[in-house]
């Protein structure tokens, strides 16, 4: 929709937008350019500023087998957490959308995880999955040593993924339900008249119609698996045991702020930023062509 009525003023619009522009310049564009500078330079050990090293930092990052392990792990983490969380949220939204009596209570509760800080959920799940405590740890009482995320990398990764998936349920549920509720009732009635039962309508009618939302959520979840994972991992495993839960953001933090290798961390940041931008770009392209109904 193109607006026709505008205010005319030479200075005022700039004054209004200035705070936002200054903030994004200082905290977004400038830092991003600094990251580029660091990624292509190296700080000299004896001081005296940075020297230009071209793609050396990137070559070093990509030549490191540990980095590739981290990338693969981040991919696995993203896919597993996204898959579990979205499937659960979708199933719940599909049943809530039938608006049976009493559904409102369920609907309200399903949103709760959205409010919880990742590290807070991390602490709770760490206790739930603790091998010594009396919840999942009870298994160890029956079969000693069957569960121990403190020493077993696969267990630790599973624990973090389950927690991440749980955290995402609220957000995914909100979007799935909203999308389902936008489908016009007449479509259901038409489907029902053609003899499609509720289950058939879910699969053949609702799922295809909410495809744009599903795709949008897929990208948002993958991006959140890069961002929210830090708090979870820092509280639950600190990347251990022996690096088995180290994902990309955690490695950047570790190399940059613990190892003080700014150039390496900056190069990794650039790679991650490009990855996230590519994902967002795909998302916008898709949304432009999204299916219109109603």
């Amino acid at each position: 929709m193109e607006r026709r009525a505008y205010y005319r003023n030479r200075l005022l619009p700039w004054l209004l937008i200035a705070p936002q522009l200054i903030l994004i310049f200082v905290f977004f564009y400038w830092p991003a350019s600094q990251a580029l500078y660091w990624a292509f330079t190296l700080e000299q050990a004896w001081g005296g500023g940075n020297v230009w090293v071209g793609f050396d930092n990137f070559r070093q990052v990509f030549g490191d087998a540990r980095y590739w392990n981290t990338v693969m792990r981040s991919g696995l983490y993203a896919l597993a957490a996204t898959g579990i969380s979205m499937t659960l949220a979708l199933v719940l939204a599909l049943f809530v959308d039938r608006s049976l009596r009493g559904t409102k209570i369920f609907q309200d509760v399903y949103i709760w995880p959205y409010a919880i800080a990742a590290p807070a959920a991390g602490v709770a799940f760490r206790f739930i999955f603790s091998p010594e405590a009396g919840l999942v740890g009870t298994l160890n009482g029956m079969w000693p040593g069957i569960w121990n995320p403190a020493t077993n990398g696969a267990h630790a990764l599973l624990m973090v993924i389950v927690c991440h998936a749980w955290l995402g349920i609220g957000y995914n549920f909100i979007f799935f339900l909203a999308a389902l509720q936008m489908i016009p009732r007449s479509m259901f009635e038409a489907g029902a008249m053609d003899g499609a039962g509720p289950a058939r309508r879910m699969i053949d009618l609702q799922l295809p119609l909410i495809a744009p939302t599903t795709f949008f959520l897929l990208i948002m979840n993958i991006i959140s698996s890069f961002t929210d994972s830090f708090g979870l991992i820092d509280v639950m495993t600190e990347g251990g045991p022996v690096g088995s839960t180290e994902v990309m953001v955690y490695k950047i933090y570790f190399d940059g702020f613990r190892g003080l290798d700014y150039s390496g961390a900056a190069a990794q940041s650039i790679v991650l930023m490009l990855l996230v931008m590519a994902l967002t770009f795909v998302q916008f392209k898709w949304i432009e062509r999204r299916i219109h109904y109603a």
Binding site: L23, A117, A133, L135, W166, I174, T227, F230, V235, F257
Partner: protein, 305 residues
């Protein structure tokens, strides 16, 4: 309901109850564990029924993690981000939607791009700015040769310095500097009919009058939605506060304290105290989300699509 199908309704209820259990169990475990004594919580398997020690555990957690001042810090940061973001977002969206100047689309896209990269992804570069938030301007002056010029003319050596480490501004500003709110407002302002603008022009009101007397009252629902989203996300920040506050004593937030509450590797496994602390820390945003659900759900959806 279109048709009666008792079997499918039963399946629906069953699935919703399973979902309810999945979502609620962690909350329940936190609450139950927070109410048990050390010996009760050490039992394997532990009881899933609340006990009577909630207050002592909360007191222990409160003292161990120094929660009083930290809650205050979290509140200051969350409110600061919320107010800052709402103000800045409303003003810049107003500028983009209701004024016709050539660069507005450029400004729009410059703001839009910042949506793509969350703070966690660009944490290393953003941190570089924290020690001196004015360094971009200093560098600009230096490279343009203005520093030399000014010192030659006035004898004053220009050195801009604004350290953000260990300050509320440092905790708040980088979180304000993103585009989420601007988009919510822009989306809403676009739906304001032209006639409204023309009518108020005819009544002789200037742009700011229009902004305060027409737009702000109209956008109250949006403001509530944005406030909820911003409050929750800034209360829950972890990585940025961790980096920008080296002086945790005075500037730490509650979410940073979670790690301090976890029992040490070989210490007493007093998870009851840990869970009592976690309960306090997760409660404020949970209450807000539960209360403001109606508005924030709408805001969240119009923000991201």
């Amino acid at each position: 309901m279109i048709e009666r199908s008792p079997l499918f309704n039963a399946i629906s209820y069953a699935m919703m109850v399973i979902g309810f259990l999945i979502v609620v169990t962690p909350f329940w475990v936190v609450l139950v564990a927070a109410s048990q004594s050390l010996s009760e919580i050490a039992r394997v398997p532990m009881s899933l029924w609340p006990s009577a020690h909630l207050w002592e555990n909360i007191e222990a957690a409160w003292n161990r993690a120094d929660l009083g001042p930290k809650l205050l810090n979290s509140l200051i940061v969350a409110l600061g981000v919320t107010f800052g973001k709402i103000t800045i977002a409303a003003l810049s969206a107003f500028s983009i939607v209701f004024f016709n100047y050539r660069a507005r689309m450029v400004c729009f896209w410059m703001i839009f791009v910042t949506l793509m990269l969350p703070l966690e992804v660009r944490i290393v570069p953003t941190y570089s700015i924290a020690a001196n938030a004015l360094s971009p301007f200093q560098t600009l002056l230096d490279t343009l040769g203005l520093t030399g010029l000014i010192s030659a003319l006035t004898g004053v050596e220009v050195s801009l310095n604004w350290n953000l480490l260990n300050s509320y501004t440092g905790l708040i500003l980088p979180l304000v500097a993103t585009a989420t709110g601007t988009f919510l407002y822009r989306q809403f302002f676009m739906t304001v009919p032209d006639e409204l603008v023309e009518a108020s022009k005819m009544d002789g009101s200037g742009p700011m009058r229009f902004f305060f007397d027409v737009l702000i009252p109209l956008s109250r629902t949006n403001m509530l939605a944005l406030a909820t989203i911003m409050f929750v996300s800034s209360w829950n920040q972890y990585l940025w506060p961790l980096l920008v506050t080296t002086d945790r004593e005075n500037y730490g937030t509650v979410v940073m304290q979670l790690k301090a509450l976890i029992p040490a590797q070989n210490g007493t496994p007093d998870w009851n105290v840990t869970m009592a602390g976690a309960l306090i820390i997760m409660l404020p945003p949970l209450v807000i989300v539960a209360l403001a659900q109606r508005w924030f759900v709408r805001g969240l959806i119009s923000r991201d699509k």
